[in-house]
Amino acid sequence: MRGALKITLGIMTAIGGFVDIGDIVTASLTGARFGMTLAWAVVLATAIMVLYGEMAGRVAAVSKRAMFDVVRERLGVRFAMVNLGANALLSLLTLAAEIGGVALVLHLVTGIHYLIWVPVVGLGVWLTIWRLPFQALETVFGLLGLCLLVFAAALVLLPTDWGSLWHEAIHPSVPAGEALPTWLFYAISLIGACLVPYQVIFFSSGGREEKWSVKDMKDARLNAVVGFPLGMVLSLSIMAAMVPVLRPDSVDVRHLGQVTLPIAQALGVLGLILTFIGFFACVFAAATESALSIGYSVAQYFGWTWGKRHKPSAAPRFHVVCLSSVIAATGFMLTSVDPITVTIITVVLAAAAIPLTYLPLLVVANDREYMGRYVNKHWQNGLATIALLVMVVVSLATPPLLFATKAGQ
């Protein structure tokens, strides 16, 4: 019974943890502008996430090593250093976007300007890293994130044309009046939002934090295989909820407030409150996770003591890295750069950098010396290779599309 509870909890946290400010912004933006014609991008990215999330969990459980330990051991100091730099920079941008996102949510709830909230949120993120136990972090925020199911409920209550939603989703085509490069640009932003690098680093390091061993591998696998697709349902329902309300006038979603309009229409004030709780939980958790993942990756590269399972005084360098990341990201948001713009730039850059995080994982999951009999099966390698090809195509296509569409205008 307790086992079943633990698994349900794991799955539910995976659902909540999958969605962050990048998913919320890109899903609602594309839903309002392109309907469900880009749903395929979310499905594709989730499939890749399941494949590689399962690998990350397995590597952490079997080899008892986290991401950057193995990256450095297997791929050499130089490659690992480039990788570390790129990942840390991206996670820092992600962290900034999430901090801005939480501040926007608080602005909508309280009416107080978001810039006043930015330092408060930064402090909150750091305090969570400093004091809150790892499991509380995952469970509390993951469960609260489930409030976002209101988007699915709203969809039922709104005058939704299910037939055409479904038709658009399974027959993707560029909507009239839109250019192909723009459409592809937003497809890439959706993929980048689902496959942010911090998730894999956090997932594999989290496995070590919770002292996973081979016998926890089943749970980890179930969390990845069931949790992520259910998280995808959340993303898709946000996208779909925009269609009946904002699509008819192809509203350009540039503010978080616009995203809540379908909810208000369907469910009123109660729905709004649930939405804000869900947004807050998901985005705040993502902020904490991206800050932690910077600390994790740097400490793992240099062989320092890391993790929330130690007291801060036992892992001082790890905590210094986390603290400075939070300060840097908060400072960046205080320059009054628009959080939504930062979010879009971040997900697009993330799309370009996907192979950097995922290739090493594939290499390690095939290493018999680390993985013993738990190395990748042939079919997993087949799928993973196809996925990697997709990632490389995405990453090569990103810069030209970014310029051709002037960032999706």
Binding site: V77, W304, W306, S313, P316, V320
Partner: protein, 127 residues
């Protein structure tokens, strides 16, 4: 190189070093191999740790820069990296190196001790 031959570099580079109590000491950034005076087989005399060992391996301008920073951080601007001598090693395998001393006794501990004393230790709730 003929197949089946494993170099000391392959065996040791970038492995995690733990002290007697399982506390992380750092990574094997490089190794020190000495050829005895009598001309016998070269032997491993120490593991080298820290930026001045890692910098040359990173190579290029970035590596030189890394080494320079590391040098400034060492007492007396010493260029030669921190040595973990061979007699401290208890076991090593493909994953890790275990020592018979505690991290506190080693000179690799300086940054850790400094950040603990001056930054982390001063924030309430660090213990």
């Amino acid at each position: 190189m003929p197949q089946g031959i494993v170099t000391a570099n392959d065996m040791l580079w970038d492995r995690q070093i733990y002290d007697r109590d399982g506390v992380e000491v750092g990574k094997v950034d490089d190794i020190e191999v000495t050829i005895p005076d009598d001309g016998g087989a070269p032997t491993l005399t120490a593991l080298l740790c820290g930026p001045t060992a890692l910098g040359p391996r990173l190579g290029g301008r970035f590596g030189a820069w890394w080494t320079a920073i590391g040098q400034r951080l060492r007492p007396g601007d010493e260029l030669y990296p921190v040595r973990v001598t061979a007699d401290m090693i208890v076991t090593f395998d493909r994953h890790e190196v275990r020592l018979n001393v505690t991290a506190a006794e080693l000179p690799t501990n300086r940054l850790r001790a400094w950040t603990r004393q001056y930054i982390i230790g001063r924030i309430p709730g660090s213990r």
